[in-house]
């Protein structure tokens, strides 16, 4: 106590100091400290988290936050992968049906290619083939997954022509990558056609006779109306894919499809055709011819088929295109294949973790089956070859889908493992060890409650403890 205060004390008498009670203050400080630790421990126990605020462990919280973001991303990418599997399974299921349809078409083509059938039989077979082809088209256009058409080329590379009135894209092989191509039309396709001279169909035939169109015989009798003979010719010719019509008073016969298939008419009996204004003759149409200008690998070839053509190149490159009505001789047409189109699946938590799913057009046109015809034996053999190509293509597509599905299943398994490991890492950082925290909580509780804790527990009898020393 300094001199001035001593003097003051002497003047005032004994002073009772009550402002600061240091022992009590010290005890209170310890109590508050213990209370804080206890509250902290209780908070951790009730939340289950080791880190409840950044002051608990700032670095740990930052790492745990990043892990949580990654986990959320992985979880969603797992869902995306499953969606991808569902899309592929939908497509695969539909392609199973496409395969069945093609198999049936093949059976019918084999049947029609048999020489024991007449044109009328083949016409009936052709009707079923046409129905199957229509079903093929319907399937390709109707099968969708969440509103996305998956079999009509919507999930394949998008192609843009410099002039879309001249050409259209039928199908793209999976090995074809986005690129720019340029072609020149050097031959316009034509249909085989034979036209006759003027004829009056109100007249009658003046003798018994017959003539044939591509081997199909049409007979008539003396006195038959020319109109009836014309109708018979139309019906029989239709069976074999030849359209017969009146064109400015003259009969013309035209092959239904473009290409270099021969059309031949011949007299069975001399003078028969002449009565209808026709004469013995043969005509062969032309296939399209294309020159490849830019974008194609050396060694690429063009395989024409009527008004359609297939460009084949190394490494399985294959593009199928078709000429349209606006195409003219020496036209140059550019095609740009864009990367847009295929489904891009996000199968990872970060940017760039994607997988592309491409499914080509499997409509009748995409499979080269649009103008399939088995009315004549020769056509049936041709159809058989094309159907076999289509079956082979669908098999390849299904294999590819199977490979996609396998890859996605591995991806899902990998994502599950990564998620598990990451969840464990996250838990190690964020979550408390319950036993450890309970121990800490009990310890703080005992210290906090002190005498009460002792009174609650310290009630042993010495004899009982001694018994434990056996």
């Amino acid at each position: 106590m300094d001199k001035s205060r001593r003097e003051a004390t002497k003047r005032k008498g004994i002073i009772m100091k009550i402002n600061h009670n240091m022992p009590a203050l010290r005890a209170l400080r310890q109590l508050n400290k213990s209370e804080t630790l206890l509250t902290d421990s209780l908070f951790k126990l009730s939340s289950g988290n080791r880190i409840n605020r950044s002051s608990d462990d700032a670095a740990g919280l930052a790492i745990a936050h990043k892990l949580r973001l990654q986990l959320n991303g992985l979880s969603q990418s797992g869902n995306n992968a499953w969606d991808g599997i569902s899309l592929i399974q939908t497509g695969e299921g539909a392609l199973n049906e496409v395969h069945a349809i093609l198999q049936r078409m093949r059976e019918l083509s084999v049947q029609a290619a048999n020489g024991t059938y007449i044109e009328e039989d083949r016409a009936n077979i052709n009707m079923e083939i046409e129905q199957l082809r229509d079903e093929l088209n319907r399937l390709s256009k109707s099968i969708d997954f969440n509103g996305v058409k998956i079999l009509d080329g919507e999930l394949d590379l998008m192609g843009i022509f410099s002039d879309k009135t001249k050409m259209e894209l039928l199908s793209i092989h999976e090995s074809v990558e986005p690129n720019k191509f340029k072609m020149k039309i050097t031959e316009i396709p034509t249909k085989s056609k034979i036209s006759g001279g003027a004829v009056d169909l109100t007249q009658t035939m003046n003798q018994d006779g017959s003539f044939s169109v591509n081997g199909v015989t049409i007979s008539y009798q003396n006195g038959d109306l020319k109109r009836d003979v014309f109708a018979k010719l139309q019906k029989q010719a239709d069976f074999i894919g030849v359209t017969v019509e009146m064109d400015a008073g003259a009969i013309s016969l035209t092959k239904r499809f473009y290409g270099d298939k021969e059309l031949k008419i011949s007299n069975g009996l001399a003078g028969s055709l002449e009565q209808l204004g026709l004469a013995d003759g043969t005509n062969t149409g032309k296939n399209v011819k294309i020159d490849l200008l830019e974008g194609f690998a050396p060694g690429s070839t063009v395989k024409p088929s009527g008004d359609a053509f297939t460009i084949e190149g190394p490494n399985g490159f294959e593009l199928r295109l078709k000429l349209k009505a606006g195409a003219a001789l020496n036209d140059e047409v550019s095609l740009e294949l864009l990367k847009e189109g295929p489904a891009m699946l996000q199968i990872g938590a970060n940017y760039g973790h994607t997988m592309q799913v491409r499914i080509p057009n499997v409509s009748a046109e995409g499979l080269g089956m649009k103008d399939i015809f088995v009315g004549a034996q020769e056509d049936a053999l041709d159809a058989l070859a094309r159907i076999e190509d289509a079956i082979s293509l669908v098999s390849k597509i299904r294999s590819k889908l199977g490979a996609y599905q396998n890859r996605l299943e591995y991806t899902v398994a990998n994502i599950d493992t990564s998620s598990l490991n990451m969840t464990e890492a996250h838990s190690r950082i964020m979550h408390i060890d319950m036993a450890q925290e309970m121990t800490e909580y009990t310890k703080q509780n005992v210290i906090q409650q002190a005498a009460t804790a002792l009174l609650a527990q310290a009630n042993q009898k010495p004899q009982e403890i001694l018994q434990l020393l056996r």
């Binding site: 009990t442 703080q444 005992v446 527990q457």
Partner: protein, 154 residues
């Protein structure tokens, strides 16, 4: 616990008051658990089982000595039950007892920190031990000194 350790514990128990008795009890429990862990490490299965059974009995005694007038007893009971369960599991599986050892050691240290006015020993008529020496009616530590020259000439 070997014989020497047991003798020491016996002596301590004889002199212990309430708090000291509790601390001894917890100390014995920790030692027993450590011995069980050691036996498990050396693949002495039977010994490990026996030690765990003994530890379970010690925990049972802890539970029996709880005074439920105080709310804190309920908290302790929950914890004892939890470790009781884990020790029973340890009988069936070769699990580590590190958690249990850590907990009871911490509990012992926590009770040791509680300020408490020393009382007389709970055991009646026990020997009083002073710094390792024992006095009783048959054993008095005396020293006979003969022929002492006290430095004075009579």
């Amino acid at each position: 616990m070997d014989a020497a350790q047991k003798k020491i514990f016996q002596s301590r128990i004889a002199q212990a008051d309430r708090k000291e008795l509790l601390l001894i009890h917890l100390e014995m429990l920790v030692i027993t658990l450590k011995e069980a862990e050691e036996a498990g490490f050396h693949q002495h299965v039977t010994q490990r089982e026996n030690k765990i059974h003994l530890a379970l009995e010690m925990i049972k005694k802890l539970v029996e000595s709880l005074d439920f007038k105080y709310d804190f007893s309920a908290d302790l009971l929950v914890i004892y039950q939890r470790f009781n369960q884990s020790l029973i599991t340890a009988l069936r599986k070769d699990t580590s007892l590190a958690e249990e050892i850590s907990f009871f050691d911490t509990l012992r240290n926590a009770f040791a920190q509680v300020p408490y006015e020393k009382e007389t020993g709970l055991m009646q008529n026990s020997e009083t031990i002073y710094a390792g020496l024992t006095y009783d009616k048959h054993n008095q530590l005396t020293e006979t000194v003969e022929n002492i020259k006290r430095g004075l000439q009579a």
